[in-house]
């Protein structure tokens, strides 16, 4: 197919005309154009018929996707299909907003998140989106670093390339991208919800650690990474660089500088999830052992909760999960943490401006797309050694102290004392203050 030119006009199956404005990019399967669709700027992906063997599969799949709608608004989902032009067709989707970067820009250190909180939000958004997608019975099949657009200010995510998304009984036939495919797929197996979870683990590891989980010293000793060695190190004999039992493909200070920076920051929970994802058992014997998206959500939320604003220098710092006399990573001073607010399985440090989120309370029970929603904030008055919690939600909270009951109205504030428990929706938050 010859490329479309600026000014060309196409018509969609819904009878809407599309005007081609410019070529945005080109991939293996097709070309992406910026177009005007129904008066709105949109993106159009036109398939290269010579490169896509099963064009009819894509057409039928896109029709189904359009009919069923996006799993959540994090997906740049197909919206309309063009009528056939020169033996091919394309589909309409939303454009990437200008404040979103390609995930590769972060891996290439061209830009960085504004904070660790934003970076963890990014992980939560990705995991939550794939949880919703899998819950609907879909498989993504080709999950890799090229599928995400990321807003570095807050970690919001948009997921592109959704035309392979299908039910597992009718796969597109795509295998995936080298280094992101699960070992079983590398060895010729079919992509599935379980193999999506391996690819998800690779993306999360790269997001946090900025290196590949299987590229330790053994893998990187290969002089030429051809198909033979790709199959060996990513299919037949994959080995995690932080495998607790086998260090033969471990990290080295010279090569894995980013890993040295970031791995020590991970909570025990997060480390365990990575170890589980890239365990020999999950990768080579039983793919059901890959952690569920909900496991990631809970661990990531606790991880994010330990990143807070230092009450002294007001920069983002990280509180070690057992240390209640933490030293700020920025100003190097010990800052006050008055205790922990325990809600569900989460430990929330009681220090100035720490937020309580809706997801602390509902513990991802809703199975919907994650949106961070603050419902409370810790406030302090150090001159009087007072700590309190303000209710930012629009509902009243129950309160119990020494058998006496009370309430914290929406917008109200309650003083936090040791042993007080708060009934917030269906959860109970208990205050454990440190003894002075």
């Amino acid at each position: 197919m010859a490329g479309l030119k600026s000014g060309d006009v196409l018509t969609t199956e819904k009878g809407i005309s599309i005007k081609i404005n410019s070529l945005l990019g080109e991939g293996g399967q097709g070309k992406i154009y910026k177009v005007t669709y129904n008066g709105q700027p949109k993106a159009l992906k036109m398939y290269k018929p010579e490169s896509v063997k099963n064009l009819e599969w894509f057409r039928e799949n896109l029709k189904r996707e359009i009919k069923e709608g996006a799993p959540s608004e994090k997906f740049l989902w197909p919206q309309d299909i063009t009528r056939e032009v020169d033996g091919t067709f394309g589909y309409i989707m939303d454009l990437r907003p200008s404040d979103y970067h390609e995930f590769d820009d972060i891996l290439l250190a061209k830009c960085e998140f504004s904070s660790f909180t934003a970076m963890i939000n990014c992980a939560l958004n990705i995991v939550s989106a794939f949880r919703v997608l899998h819950r609907k019975g879909y498989v993504y099949q080709d999950l890799n670093n090229g599928n995400f657009f990321v807003r570095i200010s807050d970690g919001d995510v948009l997921i592109c390339d959704n035309d392979n998304v299908s039910d597992p009984a009718h796969p597109s036939g795509i295998a995936g991208k080298a280094r992101y495919m699960a070992p079983s797929v590398v060895m010729g197996g079919k992509p599935s919800r379980l193999t999506d979870r391996f690819s998800l683990g690779v993306c999360l590891f790269m997001l946090f650690m900025r290196c590949h989980p299987l590229e330790g010293v053994r893998t990187l000793r290969v002089p030429e990474m051809n198909d033979y060695y790709l199959q060996l190190h990513y299919g037949k004999q994959p080995l995690f660089i932080a495998d607790p039992k086998d260090r033969s493909n471990g990290y080295s200070e010279e090569i894995h500088k980013n890993f040295y920076r970031r791995w020590p920051l991970m909570t025990k929970q997060i480390k365990e999830l990575f170890i589980k994802t890239f365990s020999q058992e999950a990768m080579l014997q039983n793919e059901a052992k890959y952690p569920l998206e909900s496991d990631w959500c809970k661990a990531l939320l606790q991880f994010r909760t330990y990143f807070l604003k230092c009450p002294l220098c007001e920069k983002e710092t990280y509180m070690d999960d057992v240390n209640l006399h933490p030293v700020c990573k920025c100003c190097k001073k010990t800052y006050p943490v008055h205790g922990l607010l325990k809600v569900e399985n989460y430990n929330i440090p009681i220090t100035k401006d720490v937020n309580l989120y809706q997801e602390h309370i509902d513990n991802f029970a809703t199975e919907e797309q994650f949106y961070p929603k603050k419902i409370g904030i810790i406030r302090t008055k150090s001159s009087e050694n007072l700590v309190a919690l303000t209710n930012l939600s629009n509902r009243s909270w129950g309160l119990v102290l020494n058998g006496k009951m009370g309430s914290v109205e929406a917008g109200g504030t309650c003083k936090l004392v040791d042993g007080i428990s708060l009934k917030i929706e269906n959860s109970t938050a208990v205050v454990n203050l440190t003894k002075k």
């Binding site: 995930f103 504004s114 990187l220 290969v222 983002e316």
Partner: protein, 271 residues
């Protein structure tokens, strides 16, 4: 207690700025251009190579992803063999192409060029000596010539026999562009080891189109940049499976446009 909640803004800076991570460790995709600059290349042929390479280099500077990093070398061979990009290391694509000129003597020292190439296809003393942790994808070798070898066997057999002893050569993707009807097809075939990976450009327009297509496709296949990787059963430990490259090139050139423009012409018509 404070009267107002004044600290609800998002966190910024702090720890994340203290110790910023480095660019992710990427594999290197090496591409070698072996360009005949004997006197017979003078005029439209070399002019076309230069203008096409200018545009290719300009495009390749944007080939910057988190999976692979492109680096290249240019070896010209006429009466002399010269590493135009320097003989110390592969260079990164900055978008600039330094114009190649032709030699004022008619000899084409292809066999000598093969020996030069063999020396540099090495991880101990050649172009593949990198810092620890760097690995390469299969090298891409692109040969462009319009004649015969004049330094020994005219089909380049002596030089290629030496190259065959080199593991990186055997592990590379090789494509040859025979420029004009008088180019030695046998030499090109000997170099690639596969007749189907020899493309003949009969005129300037076709040469430009073929060269652009060859570079784009071979870089994409070597770096596995496409998302529809086909699983290869029992791959060879050294030689890459060139079927994927052939398929991609076939699709790239399977257009009426190239067939229409690439019509054999008299050798004198190049000027």
């Amino acid at each position: 207690m404070p009267d107002t909640i004044d600290e609800l803004e998002e966190l910024k800076g702090g720890m994340i700025e203290e110790d910023k991570p480095e660019c992710i460790n990427r594999r290197i995709t090496p591409i070698f251009f072996l360009i005949d600059n004997s006197m017979s290349m003078e005029g439209v042929k070399m002019g076309t190579v230069n203008t096409a390479m200018e545009e290719i280099m300009n495009d390749l500077k944007n080939f910057n992803n988190a999976d692979t990093e492109l680096r290249f070398a240019v070896l010209s061979f006429g009466v002399e063999c010269t590493w135009e990009t320097g003989d110390a290391a592969l260079v990164t694509c900055d978008g600039i192409w330094n114009e190649l000129s032709v030699a004022n003597v008619g000899l084409t020292c292809f066999n000598t060029a093969c020996l030069e190439l063999k020396e540099k296809l090495s991880g101990t003393h050649g172009f593949f000596k990198f810092a620890a942790g760097k690995t390469i994808t299969p090298p891409v070798l692109v040969l462009m010539t319009d004649g015969n070898a004049n330094d020994g066997n005219r089909d380049g057999e002596t030089g290629i026999a030496e190259l065959q002893k080199n593991k990186y050569y055997r592990g590379s993707y090789k494509v040859a562009i025979a420029i004009g009807s008088e180019a030695n097809q046998k030499l090109c075939e000997n170099f690639t080891g596969d007749k189907e990976l020899v493309y003949t450009a009969y005129n300037a327009l076709a040469l430009k189109k073929i060269l652009e297509g060859v570079v784009k496709c071979s870089v994409a296949v070597s770096s596995s940049g496409t998302s529809d990787t086909q699983i290869i059963q029992n791959p060879d430990p050294v030689a890459p499976d060139s079927r994927n490259l052939k398929n991609v090139l076939e699709n790239e050139f399977d257009t009426d446009e190239l067939t229409e423009i690439n019509i054999p012409v008299e050798e004198t018509d190049w000027d």
